[in-house]
Symmetry: C2
Subunit: 355 residues, 2 copies
């Protein structure tokens, strides 16, 4: 049995999206149980669902609530209560093995960090997600916005955590890690990136990581490496740039297929092909970012997720819990950090300064 806690009130649409997703998820996974967290009056329809229990939370973190409000004022929010289910009780066991929320990213990261704390050996949690690549597979990318100012030590930790994630969830034995840079050569990039490259080569030489080398922005979609590591500023800009381009191109395609009689006729004929294309790049298929580096597995779905997208996030959380991602990340971190002597100066600057 794997049990997930679900922040049913989070996201733009709350229970009207999360509950249908939970229902579909339960039907698909007979080995799964859910803790549905939220206001009981909003969750009445789920009151008698099998393998489900409603956990009451009286408050809701809104999508535009500042981090401080989520952290200090709304202490009984569905987000916080859902995350708290991951904390070990006196017997060492937790009520749930992973948590899923579509709530606002800043609040989710801050509350998760406050409630769960970071794992030994990890200075900062990171946000990891999968991005479709041209092989028909996925590239896992981190960090996507949790940390804006990163040192080489942090990027190394992201590499280790990303590697453990892909091993556990995608079942790849020795996934390759690429360091996002502005050229393939070792001499390229900022001082931080060059130092990260050195550390990754050291760790790889000791057999603790499959380091591909530097990759560039286009390699994310080429699928050159299984995992692409970058700081949260660069990751967030790259992801949103891609989203912006995709939106523009979809707009252009629609406009051209609506232009004039011929365009409209061509649209009718091309519709089945265009629909296949749409399904292929459907972003709901890769919903569900992992917050890595915490003492508990938290997954985030898009705030605007529909039921299908939210179910994808539930599936990812379920796979992670079932494959013991938390233990794997922990073991990989301990093992790799031993191989990588931490310079004294760097240890100082690697303090707790996450944005």
């Amino acid at each position: 049995m794997v049990r997930l806690s679900v922040d049913c009130m989070g996201g733009d649409h709350g229970p009207s999206i999360t509950l249908p997703a939970c229902k579909a998820f339960l039907a698909r996974h007979p080995q799964a149980e859910l803790l549905l967290v939220g206001k009981p009056e909003a969750l009445t329809e789920a009151a008698h669902w099998p393998r489900c229990r409603i956990v009451t939370a009286s408050e809701v973190v809104e999508m535009d609530d500042p981090v401080e409000v989520a952290l200090r004022r709304k202490r009984d929010s569905s987000m916080r209560v859902a995350i708290s289910q991951l904390k070990a009780g006196p017997d060492g066991a937790s009520a749930a093995q992973a948590c899923v929320s579509a709530g606002n990213t800043g609040a989710l990261m801050a509350v998760s960090r406050y409630v769960l704390k970071t794992m030994d050996g990890i200075d900062r949690p990171a946000l990891a997600s999968v991005i479709p690549n041209q092989h028909g597979g996925f590239t896992t990318m981190l960090d996507l916005g949790a940390n804006v100012d990163c040192e080489a030590e942090h990027l190394l930790q992201f590499a280790i955590m990303g590697s453990a994630l892909v091993q556990a969830v995608d079942g790849k034995a020795n996934p390759s890690v690429g360091l996002l840079n502005i050229g393939e050569e070792q001499i390229k990039g900022s001082e931080t990136i060059k130092r990260t490259g050195e550390m990754l080569r050291t760790v790889a030489a000791a057999g603790h990581l499959n380091f591909y080398g530097n990759v560039e922005g286009n390699d994310i979609f080429k699928g050159t490496a299984d995992i692409v590591v970058c700081d949260g500023f660069v990751g967030n800009v790259a992801l949103k740039t891609a989203e912006g381009l995709a939106a523009m191109l979809v707009g252009f395609i629609k406009e051209e297929f609506k232009r004039g009689i011929y365009g409209k006729l061509a649209a009718v004929v091309a519709l089945p092909v265009l629909n296949r294309l749409k399904a292929r790049v459907d972003h709901r298929r890769y919903s569900g970012a992992a917050l890595l580096g915490l003492r508990g597995l938290v997954f985030k779905s898009h705030g605007s997720a529909d039921a299908f997208a939210f179910e994808t996030a539930l599936n990812r959380a379920y796979d992670a819990a079932r494959n013991r991602l938390l233990d794997r990340v922990h073991d990989r971190v301990v093992e790799t950090m031993q191989a990588c002597p931490k310079p004294a100066a760097a240890a100082d600057s690697a303090g707790d300064k996450a944005a």
Copy 2:
């Protein structure tokens, strides 16, 4: 009369691309003159073209030559000789008003900087290019890879130079500048970005710049601001990420329209629409990045440019020279820097450390 110097040997294809582009350019612009720089034996066909003169250079900077080779060993390269045409003679006049090359970016930046020097008030030159947006217009973005570690002062300089570029070349009176960040709020982003935001607000309040505020990756294609400012690492990653996504989507479209009998039939019907779409996103239409901040106007075309793309770069250089971009950048820098008190500490750290 506007005279451009052209590195005819640069790029992947040399004169086989640059000469047809020059010929088409001359036909289109009766007011333009060209200095064709390269090995005379490779340029014989242009020997008797009107409004043209061949300037001899005995060496060629190859696309994979390290910066040091371009800078120190090949002192008579077509790239260097073409750039040298921009230097003022004893009478204060230069042989050409702008230079165009499709040679390798690192070498072009280094040689330009060495030969021309940076403008007063500018610490580092930046690479600016236009990117199509969903309004059917263009967003100008800089820096795209010349500077990997930037301070706030550098980003401010990029904003001023970008603004002058759009005013001069696109004729916009008061173009808006967006600061690339991971959220719209002022409190978002790295320390450098937050400090840049403060400086841009100060300069804008004094009436020297139209500062829109923070923009995110997707705003590049939305056309939220006329100019998007970022450091060269982020700009390079964003641009290459977009190129990668575009390549993947084009691949998917081709695959789907080749799949099965129906897909092929649909492709035939949809072809005119797909061709319109292709023309609309044709990257050759926005070839020609400007190296800003030097004492001379240097434009760079893609190494893999075809004649059409190289001609676009010639057109951009011509427009820039005709509209006195160099003087405008200079005036804007002087005027704006007076409005922006340079802190003593920052002035120290803003030294000459370009990558």
